[in-house]
C-alpha cells in the first residue's frame, strides 16, 4: 500500500493545471487497453474467415481454419484482462448472475457468451466433426482422449450427416457475421456511451472500433499464417496473402476515413472540451497518436499497400513486406486502443488540467501482466493447431493427392 501511495505522490508532482482531487489515480490501466484490443482481434479474424465461407472468396481457403482457431484462442481469454483488473475479481460472475440492464458492461457478458458458445465453438465443432472422428481412429493417448471428449459421442460419417455439418456451419457463419459486428461494436459502445467523457462520447465510436477491429484481426491472421507456414517449413500461398492484403487495404482506408471524420468533426465543432483535447492530442498523446497510431500504424501500411495495387514486387520481397505491414498494423491498432482508453483518462473532467499515467512493470496491473495476457492466446493457438491442425483436414489431404 505504501508503495501505491508513493507512486501516487509521484504522479501528483506531474499533474498539470487543475484536476479533481480524485482524478490523480488513473483507474483503467493497460489491461483495459488490452481488452478492446483482444476483442477486436477476435472479431476481425472471424470476419476474415467468413469471407471465405459466406462470400466464397476461395483464394482465402488456406487461412480459413487458421482464422477461426485464432479467433477462438483470443476469445477464450478476451475477458481475462478485464477480470484481473477488477478490484474484486471473485465477484466477476455477478455480472452474469445479476446484470444491470442499463449497463453496457453487463450486457457485454451475454454478447461475449453468445459469440463464444453459439458462434465460434459451434462453427468449429461442425467444421471439425468429421476430422475429429477420423483422427480418433488413429490417435493415441491424451490426444485420443481429447477427441473422444470433443466429438461428444458423435460417430456418424454418413453423407447425410456430412451434408448437415456443412449446412449448419454455413448458417452459423451467417449468424456469426452480425454477431462479430455486435461483439466489437458493443465494445465501442462501452466507451462511446460515456457522456461525461468528451474524448469517448461519440456516436462513431462503435463503428470506428468495428473497423479498427477488422483491420487488426486481418493483420493478425496474415501474420499468424506466415509464421505458421514458416514453422511448418512450407511456403505461404502468395495468392491468399495478396487477397488478404487487398482486403486489409480497403478496410484500412475506411477505418482511417472514419477516424479522420471523427476528429474533423471535433475540430470543426470545437465544443467546450475542444481546448483540453487539443492540448491532449498535441501533448501527452503526440507520440502514441501521431507517430505510432497514425504514421506507423496507418499511413505507412496504407501507402505501401496502395503502391502494391499498381506495382507488385517479386514474391519474396512481397512476403517480407506483408509481414512488416501486419506487425505495424497490429502495433498501430494497439496504440489506437491506448489513445482511447488511457487518453480518455489523462485529462480532467474539469477541462482544466492533466494527470499522468505511471505504470509499473510488475504488479497486478503492470506491463508484465499485460504481456502475459497478450501472449497466452498464442500458446492456446499453438495447442489448438496441435489438436486441430487445419492442414491435416480431409479436404486438405484430398487436395494434396
Amino acid at each position: 500500500m505504501e508503495h501505491h501511495f508513493q507512486r501516487l505522490y509521484e504522479v501528483l508532482t506531474q499533474v498539470q493545471g487543475y484536476i479533481y482531487p480524485n482524478e490523480v489515480e488513473l483507474y483503467w490501466s493497460v489491461l483495459i487497453v488490452l481488452y478492446p484490443y483482444i476483442t477486436g482481434l477476435v472479431a476481425g479474424a472471424f470476419i476474415l474467415a467468413s469471407l471465405e465461407r459466406v462470400f466464397n472468396v476461395k483464394v482465402l481457403k488456406p487461412t480459413y481454419h487458421l482464422a477461426l482457431l485464432t479467433a477462438l484462442a483470443f476469445l477464450l481469454i478476451a475477458v481475462m484482462p478485464l477480470v484481473s483488473h477488477l478490484g474484486k475479481p471473485l465477484r466477476a460472475f455477478e455480472i452474469m448472475m445479476t446484470p444491470n440492464p442499463t449497463s453496457a458492461m453487463a450486457i457485454f457478458g451475454f454478447i461475449y457468451l453468445w459469440y463464444l458458445m453459439v458462434v465460434l465453438l459451434l462453427e468449429i465443432w461442425f467444421d471439425y466433426r468429421r476430422d475429429m472422428i477420423l483422427w480418433l481412429q488413429t490417435a493415441k493417448g491424451f490426444k485420443r482422449f481429447l477427441y473422444q471428449v470433443l466429438t461428444l459421442g458423435s460417430r456418424d460419417l454418413s453423407p447425410k450427416a456430412l451434408r448437415f455439418d456443412d449446412k449448419a456451419g454455413y448458417i452459423i457463419t451467417i449468424i456469426g457475421i452480425p454477431s462479430a459486428f455486435l461483439l466489437h461494436g458493443y465494445v465501442g459502445f462501452i466507451f462511446g456511451s460515456i457522456k461525461a467523457n468528451p474524448w469517448w462520447s461519440s456516436v462513431l465510436m462503435p463503428v470506428i472500433f468495428l473497423f479498427s477491429a477488422m483491420v487488426s484481426g486481418i493483420a493478425l491472421v496474415m501474420m499468424v499464417y506466415m509464421v505458421v507456414s514458416k514453422i511448418r517449413k512450407i511456403t505461404s500461398d502468395i495468392n491468399a496473402l495478396d487477397t488478404i492484403a487487398k482486403f486489409l487495404f480497403y478496410i484500412l482506408i475506411m477505418d482511417f476515413a472514419l477516424e479522420a471524420l471523427d476528429q474533423v468533426h471535433r475540430i470543426y465543432e470545437a465544443e467546450e472540451s475542444f481546448d483540453i483535447l487539443h492540448l491532449l492530442v498535441n501533448g501527452k498523446l503526440f507520440m502514441s497518436m501521431f507517430i505510432f497510431q497514425i504514421f506507423l500504424g496507418t499511413l505507412v501500411p496504407l501507402a505501401t499497400l496502395a503502391v502494391f495495387q499498381f506495382y507488385k514486387p517479386v514474391e519474396k520481397i512481397r512476403r517480407t513486406i506483408y509481414f512488416i505491414i501486419s506487425v505495424l498494423v497490429l502495433f498501430g491498432i494497439f496504440f489506437m486502443r491506448w489513445n482511447v482508453v488511457i487518453g480518455g483518462q489523462l485529462f480532467s473532467k474539469s477541462f482544466y488540467g492533466f494527470t499522468a499515467y505511471k505504470n509499473q512493470f510488475i504488479g497486478a496491473e503492470g506491463y508484465l501482466m499485460a504481456w502475459f495476457w497478450f501472449l497466452v492466446p498464442f500458446a492456446i493457438l499453438a495447442f489448438l493447431l496441435w489438436l486441430l491442425p487445419p492442414w491435416k483436414k480431409h479436404e486438405e489431404l484430398e487436395a494434396q493427392e
Binding site: Y18, Y27, G87, K88, N100, S103, Y352
Partner: protein, 255 residues
C-alpha cells in the same frame, strides 16, 4: 356515377382530416406541452427527497467540510481520495483562470497570486450531486450503485465488483476506488446521520451556513426556500444528469 365516387372520396378525405385535426387538439388538451426544469419527475410517495444547496457567496474556504468528511467517514487520509472538497477559483485580470484545491482544501487556502493581478476569486465546495438521473448507477454492471427512494445515491460495497466504470461515468469526479477495500467509494450524504435526523458532517461544521440540507418534497424546507430566494444553477446541466445539488452564484468558470 363518376361524380358520386368523387364526391364520396372528397367526403372521406374531409372526414379523416377533421378526425385527425380534432384528435391532435384533443390530445393537446389532455396532455398540454410543458417546459420542464427537471427532466425527471420527483418520485411520488410521502417520503423525503433529499437535496443540497451550496451558497458560494458564503463559502470562506476554511476546508472544515472536507476534513469533517474524512473524520466522520472511512475515507483514506491520503490526498487522492475525497468524498467532498473545496476548489479555489481565481480569475486574473488577463482573463485566465487558476483553480486550486491543495489536499482538497483541508487546512484552508493561501492565495498565491498577487492582489493587483486578481479580477475576482471565490471558493466552490464540491461533492456528489446525488443526481436524479445518475450516470454512475446507469452504468454499474451489477447494480451495486443505486438511488434510495429518498434520493441518495449509494453503493452496496458488499456487491461492488470494483470495475471502475462508474468512476468513468461520473462527470463531477466524485468517486474513487478505495485503496484497501478495493471497491468504489463516494459521498453517502452521511446517510447514517440523516436517517437519525442529524445533518451530514460537512453541513454540521460549516461556520457560515454555506451548505443547506433539506427535503425537496417539503415546500417549507430550508432548501426549497433557498432555491426560491436565489438564482441557483447546477453543474454541467447540458449532460442532463439532473443534479440535486443547487449552487447559488455559480460562475461560468466552474466546471
Amino acid at each position: 356515377m363518376k361524380r358520386n365516387e368523387e364526391k364520396s372520396n372528397r367526403r372521406t378525405f374531409l372526414k379523416t382530416g377533421v378526425a385527425i385535426a380534432g384528435g391532435v387538439v384533443a390530445a393537446t388538451l389532455v396532455k398540454p406541452f410543458t417546459g420542464v426544469v427537471l427532466a425527471t419527475e420527483k418520485p411520488s410517495g410521502d417520503h423525503p427527497w433529499y437535496g443540497i444547496g451550496i451558497d458560494i457567496e458564503k463559502c470562506i474556504g476554511c476546508g472544515n467540510c472536507a476534513s469533517a468528511c474524512k473524520m466522520e467517514n472511512p475515507v483514506p487520509a491520503e490526498p487522492f481520495y475525497f468524498r467532498n472538497w473545496v476548489e479555489q477559483y481565481t480569475v486574473k485580470n488577463d482573463g485566465t483562470v487558476k483553480v486550486e484545491s491543495p489536499n482538497g482544501g483541508i487546512g484552508g487556502f493561501k492565495q498565491t497570486i498577487p492582489d493587483e493581478e486578481i479580477f475576482k476569486s471565490f471558493f466552490v465546495p464540491k461533492m456528489c450531486n446525488h443526481c436524479a438521473k445518475s450516470p454512475c448507477s446507469q452504468v454499474c454492471p451489477v447494480g451495486a450503485t443505486f438511488e434510495t427512494p429518498d434520493g441518495v445515491n449509494l453503493i452496496d460495497k458488499s456487491y461492488c465488483i470494483g470495475c471502475g466504470y462508474c468512476i468513468q461515468a461520473c462527470p463531477y469526479g466524485c468517486r474513487y476506488m478505495h485503496p484497501t477495500e478495493k471497491v468504489v467509494d463516494k459521498c453517502t450524504l452521511c446517510y447514517h446521520r440523516i436517517k437519525k435526523g442529524l445533518l451530514p458532517a460537512c453541513f454540521e461544521v460549516c461556520p457560515t451556513n454555506a451548505r443547506i440540507f433539506g427535503d425537496l418534497n417539503d415546500p417549507g424546507s430550508d432548501l426549497v426556500l433557498f432555491i426560491k430566494d436565489h438564482s441557483c444553477r447546477f453543474l454541467k446541466p447540458h449532460l442532463n444528469t439532473v443534479p440535486k445539488l443547487y449552487y447559488n452564484a455559480l460562475e461560468e468558470e466552474v466546471r
